[in-house]
Amino acid sequence: MPSWLAVARNEYRLMMSGKVTRRLRRVLPILLVSAVAAMAMALPLASRSLFLEFRIRGYLEDTLTLPLKLDPALLFFAVDTSYAWKMGALTGTLAFLIPIFAAIGRQLEEVEVVSKDMVLSSPLKPVHVLVGEFIVNLLMLPVILLVSTFMFIPVALSLYLTFQAVALIFVALTLASLTGIWVAVLISTYLFTCEPMGKVKSALKALLVILGVAMGTGIITLSTSTSAMPSGLWFLPPVWVASVIHFAVAQSNIAVVKLGFAYFLVPVQPDGWTGFTLLLALFAFSFIVGAAYLSRIKFTSIVEGKEETLIIKKENVFYRTIRKAFPSPLNVMVVSQLKEFTRKTDNVTRFASIIIFPLVILFMNRMMQSDVTSGELSMLFLSSFSGFYFVLAGVALPLMIIPYIFVDSKDILWMIKKTPKGTRLLVYSMLAEALILSVPMSIVLALLFYLAMGGIGNPAPLLAVLLFMVCVSTSIAVGVYASRPIFKEKGFGHFVNFTITFIATGIVVSAMLVLLVTPWVLNLIAIAPLLQAVSWLPQPTSIVIRQTLTYVATSVTPVDVPLQVTGTAASIILGAISIYISVKRSVRKLELYEG
């Protein structure tokens, strides 16, 4: 077997070494490629039938498209084609960045688990490692295409996706993915040869987390925004992919953008073919640079870095204050846990990276043309903040801490369980630690969200609610992890725990919000059907009426005080009960944990 193939096979085995994935080793590549082929065939066929059924009929019934009907060439553009562009930008970003993230992440782990001496003592040449890695990473290509196909289902529902369009979409995404994979392999080879030590490794991990959070938030914002196309981003490779995909779907470089109740024609920048040429050029450039780099690598010149010894003689004010704030021996436990968490650079950065959420939203909001009128912003702010961001921030904060506390206490758990009240103290200290870190972060987050949403309304009550939500979700997260402890840094178990925590927190927090908010916004709920009905009136009358109604509804002081007090009390009681049950369950389950 050629050396590069042996490297590829070994990498693949490492990648698929989990309990479940091990069984799928042989069939997975075949399954993935078959699934992509099936989806590529099915999407245009389904799209055609849906297009004829819904789109044409919808077009004929849509009075707003009347001006466009005057020009037969624009007939099929009577729909917001910027949606195809948006999906293109999303899939393009994923195609470039996922391979890079995956490869760097794996390399940072491999430094720990695979002995470098084993590789270096074998007669391998750098080219073998590079080619082997590239081949195994090609597995990401069908995954990306498959994910993209699913993401294009909404496009297929509203626009006619032909076979040619799907083929062009796949070519663009393949070019982007191959470039991403190649760059990823080069980066991971570089990491292999320079062996990042201690702090550099932590910093790299941290950087990955920050980029990941930024990308995730950007994607969420882009996919959920009601905004149209951004301007001035023509130089970004995902935008080139988006331009090609828009051209493939709309067969034009002019995007039809729906802003408010009107359609506008916006030129796509760069145009489809320029985007394609730029993609090709980037692909070729990265391979040429890679080949040049490859010719210079020599495994014999690898030198291991050296760690610096850190000496800590005196405790700082932060720990001393916490030591005084809690009773003994809980204070020692909390301080020790905090030191263990905060002295690890990637833990802190991972946690702090949650600030990226509102910052990206702020950035995206500035970059994109909004179709939301100013009068509707207060409604949007309330609903976004109290709905999506509340739950997201409430769940995300504890989940940035709790799993890592468990990972860090992997080996010491038995020692703690051996001590007289160790398990109980461990649970209490985890809660305390998570709250000590989460509460200031919640305040910062709430204020940033407040600014990101335009600084409307009073942030004080929202902040109070957010803090209580964080307490509830933290205790739920501790409860879930104590019931199902996961001690590996990564793995499917974390996904399961995350899902359980997310669902449990979502249910409790949503119920609390309903109890808390409903008595205060009865007037808004009451006028909701009216707002809906008004939106069918011709412009600008509808906008004026909607804005006035919203303003009046949000400004009127609610009068039913007993109902508000009851709702608030019920919400607090529900939260308190959740905290009590979670903590009790955590202690019991962790006592019974046997590894």
Binding site: E307, I311, V332, M333, S336, K410, K417
Partner: protein, 251 residues
């Protein structure tokens, strides 16, 4: 008086046997060796006797206290050096010992003095304020040994105490156990598969295999019983593990 007494102590992990019907007596002040091949149930027994896990059936008394109903007292009077050298990597050695001492409610003035004494004894005094992540496996083992003694326990469980230690440190541990056993009437329960260590330190030994107790007695009694020259021969005969000649030739 027995420091440890088990009654048909049994632990199953699903269908897999951890230990089965273990009946054992360790006398107070005795240095007791608990021998067995890898995966024979030594660590499970130690975890059961330290109330870290619960038995499937049967029971045990440690220091006269029941491991199920009086677990908190049992935990207070015992010290444990676990098999895996698990520490909080980003605490200093001093901080870690302070942490462990606090969990046993050692008064802070006493704790400070004991930490200094133990760190000096294990020759870690000059590295007391360094993060444990920079320590070698042997040095971490020393810190864990120190933590096992931090609350001055009556009964000390040492699971592979010399694992990862250099010959000097290993000698130091053996001398420590000998000294404490002779001068303080502490009971030592030592799990190991390093037979010379058991032979040198232990007054009596037990051999466990596949979760079942196979033999108990003093090293001399067992050697005589099996007509063996040393404990290694006894061990191989009791556990029935012999390296096949064919295998050696193949290698």
């Amino acid at each position: 008086m027995e420091a440890v007494k088990t009654f048909n102590l049994t632990k199953f992990y699903g269908f897999r046997v951890g230990v089965e019907n273990l009946n054992l007596e360790v006398l107070s002040g005795e240095t007791f060796g608990f021998l067995g091949p890898n995966g024979s149930g030594k660590t499970t027994t130690v975890r059961l006797l330290n109330c870290i896990i619960r038995p499937t059936s049967g029971g045990a008394k440690v220091g006269g206290y029941d491991i199920l109903s009086e677990s908190e007292v049992v935990k207070r009077i015992t010290g444990l050096l676990p098999e895996v050298p698990g520490v909080y990597e980003r605490l200093t050695a001093r901080e870690f010992l302070e942490f462990m001492g606090s969990l046993y409610d050692v008064p802070s003035a006493v704790l400070k003095r004991r930490i200094a004494e133990l760190l000096d004894f294990f020759e870690l005094g000059d590295r007391a304020d360094e993060l444990l992540e920079g320590f070698s496996k042997g040095m971490k083992q020393k810190v864990l040994l120190a933590s096992a003694f931090i609350h001055d326990p009556e009964i000390v469980f040492l699971d592979e105490p010399t694992s990862g230690l250099d010959p000097i440190s290993s000698r130091m541990v053996k001398d420590l156990v000998k000294m404490l056993a002779s001068e303080t009437n502490k009971t030592f329960f030592i799990c190991t598969h390093i037979l010379p260590l058991a032979e040198e330190l232990c007054e009596r030994i037990a051999i466990i295999d596949r979760g079942r107790l196979k033999e108990v007695g003093s090293p001399d009694e067992l050697k005589e019983k099996y007509g063996a020259k040393n404990l290694e021969e006894v061990f191989l005969q009791v556990t029935g593990r012999n390296v096949s000649r064919d295998m050696i030739e193949w290698v």
